[in-house]
């Protein structure tokens, strides 16, 4: 990111998430400012992925709202989409397209002005330049994940929402990812990351999702 002006704060206020008929979390507040990182912690099913999907705008919160600076995110979905990168459980790689074609498509879709050089540099950073012409179906799980992560660098976005990005990555790739995350934050970007593995995020704030689980009483209050 070449833009040095500080970004507004990205925050959530009193977020409630309901999946099926179960309240996953309730009354959740978070705040993240330029250059900071937020680490989502909690046991399986505590809503880490759901919170990331809410932050991305894929999932509508049942209550509360997301704000970017002063403006509510829900008012302008497309502007929000332009400032986030979401890395979910699936790698969104087409088996018949080459590594480079896969990456270039997502980069151009995010920012139509993306140059080929940037995409190639992103591949190089994640150690995929040698595989640029290889079709997606030939990649291993770790290589697919690295290709998915290369999207982060191929088109700029302020907020990175990463749902267990280290799954299937080897130690060397995790190191690369840590380096990329540190650079992104040094440039003023924000990172929200959920993980069960150890990822080195110096100075990251921790958000323990199990603290926002609905108590049995409140569940009765809503559904009883």
């Amino acid at each position: 990111m070449t833009n040095p002006s500080p970004l507004p704060t990205f925050a959530g206020e009193k977020l409630v998430c309901v999946r099926g008929e179960r309240i996953v979390f309730t009354g959740l507040d978070f705040q993240i400012s330029s250059g900071r990182a937020l680490l989502l912690l909690g046991p399986n099913g505590s809503g880490k992925s759901s919170l990331l999907r809410v932050m991305a705008g894929l999932l509508k919160p049942a209550g509360g709202r997301l704000v970017w600076g002063e403006a509510a995110v829900a008012e302008d979905r497309e502007a929000h989409a332009a400032r986030i990168h979401y890395v979910g459980h699936h790698d969104a790689i087409k088996p018949v397209l080459s590594v480079e074609e896969n990456l270039r498509f997502w980069a151009r879709l995010h920012d139509p002005l993306t140059g080929d050089r940037v995409a190639l540099a992103a591949l190089q950073r994640f150690g995929l330049s040698r595989l640029a012409g290889v079709p997606g179906k030939m990649l291993s799980a770790g290589q697919k994940r690295r290709l998915n992560l290369a999207r982060l660098l191929a088109a700029p976005a302020a907020v990175w929402l990463l749902d267990e990005p280290t799954v299937a990555l080897d130690r060397a790739s995790v190191k690369v990812l840590e380096g990329v995350l540190a650079e992104h934050r040094a440039n003023g970007g924000m990172v929200v990351l959920s993980t069960h593995a150890d990822v080195d995020l110096p100075g990251a704030e921790e958000l323990h999702l199990d603290r926002f689980a609905a108590s049995p009483d409140s569940q009765m209050g809503v559904w009883g």
Binding site: G57, G88, H90, A92
Partner: protein
């Protein structure tokens, strides 16, 4: 707009490399139409009489074959999530996917139709009407189909459900498509039917992407 182009470009490239869908749709169309002379008998006047209906009904069924894959592959590999998070209205991207679907299924059907019309002894006066109704009608089929495909996303046995949802909506296209060709064969004016087909296409062009995008967002929640 460039993003719309990117989506069309990608889907065409995928269709070209995987290759199966277009070939399957056209082969189904050709084979099914060829069955009719065997079933009805080779009398030219009978075949000529039923040819517009046979061609259109078969085209409807053929274009439905490839619909269940329209969003399914993107849904399964996570691409749909990223498409929904693109800084463009999802509706626009849906139009891109529908355009690519039409280019790989509707257009080949349109090319194959006149050849099959010869096989069914269709009167030469009907050919122009056949081509124009296909040109106006098949994009509508792709648009309505996209709506259905988005609605059944994630459902078990989506393919069967899809045909139940979509076929009733295809009926107006069928009526006016066949009506125009019938009029042309009898030497009558067929502008009215064409205008109606065009009107249906325009309405579908506006409404179907809205409905499909809403259904896709729902499927992603």
């Amino acid at each position: 707009m460039t993003r719309l182009g990117e989506v069309i470009h990608r889907d065409l490239r995928l269709a070209l490399r995987q290759g199966s869908d277009s070939v399957m749709v056209v082969t189904f169309f050709v084979l099914t139409v060829i069955l009719f002379p065997f079933g009805i008998g080779p009398e030219a006047n009978i075949l000529e009489r039923v040819s517009p209906g046979v061609l259109w009904v078969t085209a409807l069924l053929a274009s439905m074959l490839s619909l269940d894959r329209l969003f399914q592959a993107d849904y399964e590999d996570g691409s749909l999530e990223l498409l929904a998070l693109t800084p463009t209205a999802l509706e626009i991207l849906v139009i891109g996917k529908v355009a690519a679907h039409w280019l790989t299924t509707g257009l080949p059907l349109m090319v194959a139709a006149p050849i099959l019309a010869v096989l069914l002894h269709m009167n030469g006066d009907g050919f122009l009407a056949l081509l124009v109704t296909m040109l106006l009608g098949t994009p509508t089929l792709s648009l309505i189909g996209a709506m259905g495909a988005a609605l059944v996303l994630g459902a078990r046995r989506g393919g069967v459900l899809l045909s139940l949802l979509v076929l009733p909506l295809y009926i107006p296209v069928l009526i006016f498509g066949v009506g125009a060709i019938d009029s042309a064969v009898q030497g009558l004016e067929f502008h009215a039917q064409l205008l109606l087909l065009g009107g249906i296409l325009l309405a579908a062009l506006v409404l179907a992407p809205l409905a499909a995008a809403a259904a896709l967002r729902q499927a992603l929640e």
